[in-house]
Amino acid sequence: MSMETHTQFPQDSDERGGDAREPVPVDHGCVQLLDPDGVRQEDALYDLFVADLGHTELLALYEDMVVTRRIDTEATALQRQGEIGLWPPSLGQEAAQVGSARVLRRGDFVFTSYREQAVAYCRGVELDQLMAMWRGTALSGWDPFAVGMATPAVIIGAQTLHATGYAMGCQRDGSDAVAVAYFGDGATSQGDVNEALVLAASFQAPVVFFCQNNQYAISEPVGLQAQRPIADRAPGFGVPSMRVDGNDVLAVTAAMRIAVDRARTGGGPTFIEAVTYRMGPHTTSDDPTRYRDESEVASWRAKDPITRLERLLESEGVLDETARAHVASVADAAAARVRAGCLALPAPDPLSLFDEVYATAHPGLERQREEYRSYLAMFEGGAR
């Protein structure tokens, strides 16, 4: 018997929504406190969370954004000059990264992908250490425990599970520390990211999922990964979410404070989608002209996160010559540290190849080290 039917079903059903075919506008349901012209937008809820930010705090955020952009420019130059192999610019994502990272305490712990250079800066990563991975003198540059930030995860999405596990550890320690997972729009397609949402919801882990939707995963537009605003995905897992203008440092700060406070006080995980744009190439190896138009880039240039804060500060008369000069000098110093630190990174000792594969003794590897030591010895004063 066949139960098949050809009854026409009604267009408007009481089913749970999700018509994938209507394109989602980029700013759909986005919280914005500061518009591209630098004008403050009111929001009854979110304003509460930035009400205490005075000129000093705003200037500090401005400084961080300018400095991290300057670091980005310098690193890109270093790559063009052949001093580093690769660089994934954070250009355009400064508000998302600085605004969120600055909400955290020293004791919190951050797990990122490879593009979170501004987050690293805010966590206190030394600038030479930041460069080590890209210069290839080390797989990663810093001690995660010194700064409360794991070294970058290159495998897309893997770090979201680490953050959730870390958060489960915080719960068990009775600590109010919070874990944060940074990842991109593309990452949301990976199984791991979705498993992390399940896990975080199940254990109400104090973790913040911070997704920078920069519209692209290399050449793939976000529309290939998500048919709904990304923030819409989390509630179905039992993780409340927010969608904010990721180029608006105030909105990002407010959302992050809501999420972090919730996690700290036992309220469980939160998902934040920061809608932003990757102004530069995916990495210095990428040629974005193959997949996007200059007009699109231009439309986002008008929404630049630094410009709008600059306009606000200007309109409030805060950004005088002294302030500008100070920020410029901090940025110059950072750029100089990036360059000098990068160039001064020591070449690793050949036999360090065998170090720290294991924390405990490993005869097989010791043997290989000795073999290689004696191999190298053959060349002493010789050809190699």
């Binding site: 995660p144 425990f145 599970l161 959730t164 596990g165 068990r172 791991d192």
Partner: protein, 348 residues
């Protein structure tokens, strides 16, 4: 000293680990109220609470990934993968994260994560429940891979694995879970004792190397060989990565002959590495090429065929014959390895 099944010996080992170090946590599917599908964690959640013996969502990548995060926070997670064949969804977290984090961070991060995996065949199960995936992990730098073969080792080795600061894949021979044996509580002084091969039978005529479920089979084969006047030395590898090549080489120096047996598929199995390593180390002392008696290069078959897939006493003895240069099944097959047809008469 108590008599315990291998499964209970692991259970008591886990109990010790949980009791001695409150940073030890167990993570897995159905390990709490149910006590695991093999009951290896039976009673532990009741005693140590659901925060330390944690039933996890059904997602192996999440189990390993969470363990990594917990290790970042200073915990020593012990993950249970329900069956060998279910470890692959967690493969990326194991080989690309867990194995590499210590190296990636130049030693700043330690990953004392133990992954317990009931493995191997012979229990008449459906697909994916009888696999021997150890070679994948043995090929992965940064991991330790060990397996136990009797209750005492099961108990001692799981405790040492958990105490080890490196990630350890701990393979449990599931068809031996019900094997009984005496178990002492005290740990060896050497914290890496669990990584050293052990001579389970001394002998002079050939070295027979096994691990996990086949150690018992190897011992039975050695008894059968003894009846025919062949004196086998049987070595339980215990550690598959690193291999205790020194121990096997020392034995082969004595016997000049090597047979290696495992359930896993032959190509690229642990036997290949051991054969290659021993050939490198003992070439001039070997009387015959090392012989591998292993699962075939097929997927693990339907249970009606598993007795044909799995090395058993007879196939091991056939391999011993080959290693001794005696008449064996290989004699009948054409090609270069048919060369040793001149050996003594086969036993059959």
């Amino acid at each position: 000293m108590t008599t315990l099944t291998l499964s209970k010996a692991i259970n008591t080992g886990l109990h010790h680990a949980l009791a001695e170090d409150d940073r030890v946590l167990l993570l897995g599917e159905d390990i709490g109220r149910l006590g695991g599908v093999f009951r290896v964690t039976d009673g532990l959640q009741a005693e140590f609470g659901a925060d330390r013996v944690v039933d996890m969502p059904l997602a192996e990548s999440a189990i390993i990934g969470a363990a990594i995060g917990l290790a970042f926070r200073g915990f020593r997670p012990v993950c249970e993968i329900q069956f060998d064949g279910f470890i692959y969804p967690g493969f990326d977290q194991i080989v690309a994260q867990l194995a590499k984090l210590h190296y990636r961070t130049k030693g700043a991060v330690r990953m004392p994560v133990t992954i317990r995996v009931p493995y191997g065949g012979g229990i008449g199960a459906v697909e994916h429940h009888s696999e021997s995936p150890e070679a994948y992990f043995a090929h992965t730098a940064g991991l330790r891979v060990v397996t136990c073969s009797d209750p005492q080792d099961a108990h001692t080795m799981i405790r040492q694995a958990i105490a080890c600061d490196d990630p350890v894949l701990f393979f449990e021979p599931k068809r031996r879970y019900w094997t009984k044996g005496e178990v002492l509580d005290d740990l060896p002084a050497d914290p890496l004792a669990f990584t050293r091969a052990r001579t389970v039978r001394a002998g002079t005529d050939a070295t027979l190397v096994a691990y996990g479920p086949l150690v018992q089979t190897a011992l039975e084969a050695a008894e059968a060989a003894a009846d025919e006047g062949v004196d086998l030395e049987v070595i339980d590898l215990r550690s598959l990565a690193p291999l205790d090549v020194d121990a096997v080489a020392a034995s082969v120096e004595k016997t000049g002959r090597l047979v290696i047996t495992h359930e896993a598929q032959r190509s690229g199995g642990v036997g290949a590495e051991l054969a290659a390593s021993i050939t490198e180390r003992c070439f001039d002392l070997l009387e015959e090429a090392p012989v591998r008696v292993t699962g075939f290069d097929t997927p693990y078959p339907a249970s009606a065929l598993e007795d044909h897939f799995l090395p058993d006493l007879d196939r091991i003895l056939d391999g011993v014959d080959r290693a001794l240069g005696r008449r064996s099944s290989a004699s009948a097959v054409g090609g270069a390895d048919a060369r040793s047809t001149t050996g003594g008469e086969g036993r059959r």
